[in-house]
Structure formats: structure tokens, C-alpha cells
Symmetry: C2
Subunit: 189 residues, 2 copies
DNA sequence: GTCTATAGTGCGATAGAC
DNA sequence: GTCTATCGCACTATAGAC
């Protein structure tokens, strides 16, 4: 089989969750659209919650793997930030469904805050180090770290949503440059 | 009666929706917690969807009413932005449940994009004028307007969530100032 | 692992008396 | 406007054959 039925279920669930919302999508409809039986779904995922959480973790791991940078070099902090920003933005633009699912999943109650915090640290732990280093070097403004981290995350999600909602602008250099410049101006010393 | 049963239902629904999520909260539990009969709820709100949408519109109207500024004066654009920013932030900090509900409601499918866009324009139409004016006066950076508007909205939601999650910092001048300064640095020329 | 069939539950919404 | 009572449905999850 080209892809396993388990993977087929995950792929289909992603599409349906984004189209209809997580709660409005029944396990029965996922099974049907996946071309598998109802029982098969529950063989692979003990419950609907498990399915949602598996999907979430898969996506976030994939994001972290593709985007993870190699550590901080001493020169040209802005260029390093730009490189990470672009890689992350490219991932979300190439995977709009995944990004939109994550935005929804954040409000899915069984996905505990604890798990979300863990995932966030994997995704943005690099950013924390970059800002701390930049503040030491007086290259980044000296505002409270937790506030800046939240702000970075928020600005990234906003830009990401913007380009997903306006795909025709995603390759427009004016917009791409502007999005990063706005972001960077908020941070720099 | 001090407050109408209709209002009591709205108040109770707000609490339960934020605690448990919109989908996980049954109309029956709202009615019970409100001290009204099941049928009464459906007398005032023809469906659960209507209840959610009414709640959303009520809150947004209240926000717009409380925060709406008086138009743009020619001097001291930054001070005007700060004043609007503070009023808006004060509202969300004073109404954390309302803010948290709105963040969830955005992902509630029956709440159409069309309605959301209309509400957003009522809330942030002022901001559009302020940025356009600021760009003419070379006080605000000349990036694409739609991108800047989304960014402003995003940064505001991020800050608002931050202070709701850290109430002890909401009156801390260092954090309050920093949040606005980060925001403003992203915009200014 | 995959299927069919169905159990069991809780929900949104309605009918009709007061 | 408010209540009680209840209908009908869609859903998650299970049982058991293959």
C-alpha cells in the first residue's frame, strides 16, 4: 500500500478539520472520506481526542524539524533572524492546512496547556536564545523577555495568516520584506 | 427582575463557553446554570448558533463603544495611538472573559468571515485612518497598509492575551510601557 | 488490521400547558 | 415569557467476525 490507512486517516482528518472545524467533524465522516471503516479509525486512535492530538504533535514536530536552525553565530544577528523567519514562513505557506489546523487546535480543550507549552518551547526555544544573546550585545531592545517572546510568536502567526489568506502576495518581495522588517523593527535596539 | 432572563443566559453562557469551550457546552447546561428552563433559552435564541453570535456581537459593540476615539488630531500621533491602545487594553484586561470568548469565537464556523470583517472594521476603522494619515505625514513607516493593519491587530491581541495570562503584570508600568513601545516601534517611520 | 453492525448516550430543538 | 416533557438524531465507541 502506498500510504498506510493510519496515515490516510491523518491526512483526511487534517482536511476535514480545517474545512469544517474540529468539533463539527465526526469520526464517521473522517472514516468514510478516508475510505476506511469506522472501526479501523478507532483501532489506530483510541478516541477522537487521540486523533486530534496525534495530528497536532505530528505537525509541530515536522515544523520544528524543517525549521530548526543550527545555533547562533556571533555576526549579523539580523540576517540570522531573517533566515529563521523565512524558513518558518515558507513552511506555513507551503502547508496552509497544517498552519490553519494548529490555529484551531490551540482552542481544542483536551489539548492541555502543558502540552502546548512543551511544543512551543521546542519550536521557539531558539528564539529565546537569540533574543537573550541580542540583548547582551545591545543589538536587541531591552524589554522583558517573556513579553518579547510572546510578541514574536504573535507577529509570526499574524504574518503567516496574512500570507495564507493572500497567497498571491506570498512571493511578492515588497510584502515579504515588509513583514520581516516590521517584525525586526519591533525588536532591534 | 434585576436582570432579564435573556441577559442572565448571555452572562452564564459567556462563563461556560470560556471555561469549557463553545462546542463542549450544551444548551441544557447553560439553561440549568442560568436558572431558566431549557425551552426559555430557545425562546430567546432560536438556536445555539444564534446565542453564540448574539454574544459575540454584544461584546464587540460594547468594546467599540467604550474604546472608540474621537477622530484624529494633527499633533502628536504617537500620543493618540497610545491613548487608543491603553483604552483598548484596559477594556480587555477588565473583561478577560469577553476577550477570551472572542478569541474562541473567531474559530466558530457559523460566525462567517463576512460578519467578522464587518465587526473588525467597526473596531479598527479608526486605526486605518490613523495609519494612512501617519504615512502621509511621514510619521509612520511606508509599508503596505493591509499588512500593517493585520500586524497591529495581531500585536494588540498578543499583548492583550499576555496581560490576561499575567494579571499581576497588567499594572506594572515597565510591562505596560514596553508593550506599547514594541508596538509603536514596529510602525513608526 | 480491517470490516459490519450496533449499542448507548447526550444533544438541539419542539410542542403545548400555564 | 416561562415552564415540563420529550422527540429524533447524530455521534463516539465497542463487539465480534474475518
Amino acid at each position: 500500500m502506498a500510504v498506510s490507512k493510519k496515515q490516510k486517516i491523518l491526512d483526511t482528518a487534517l482536511v476535514l478539520f480545517v474545512e469544517q472545524g474540529i468539533h463539527s467533524t465526526s469520526t464517521a465522516s473522517i472514516a468514510k472520506a478516508s475510505g476506511v471503516a469506522n472501526g479501523t479509525l478507532f483501532h489506530h486512535f483510541p478516541s477522537k481526542e487521540d486523533l486530534v492530538i496525534s495530528l497536532y504533535q505530528n505537525l509541530k514536530q515536522d515544523f520544528a524539524r524543517q525549521v530548526a536552525p543550527q545555533g547562533i553565530a556571533s555576526e549579523d544577528l539580523k540576517q540570522q533572524a531573517k533566515s529563521a523567519w523565512d524558513k518558518a514562513l515558507d513552511w506555513t505557506i507551503a502547508n496552509p492546512l497544517r498552519q490553519q489546523f494548529c490555529l484551531q487546535a490551540v482552542h481544542y480543550q483536551p489539548l492541555t496547556c502543558q502540552l502546548q507549552a512543551k511544543v512551543l518551547e521546542e519550536e521557539f526555544g531558539y528564539l529565546r536564545k537569540l533574543i537573550e544573546y541580542g540583548q547582551q550585545q545591545k543589538l536587541i531592545a531591552n524589554y522583558p523577555l517573556d513579553l518579547m517572546l510572546d510578541n514574536c510568536h504573535g507577529q509570526f502567526l499574524t504574518s503567516s495568516s496574512f500570507f495564507i489568506n493572500h497567497p498571491e502576495l506570498a512571493e511578492n518581495p515588497e510584502y515579504r520584506e515588509a513583514a520581516f522588517e516590521i517584525f525586526w523593527r519591533a525588536l532591534k535596539a
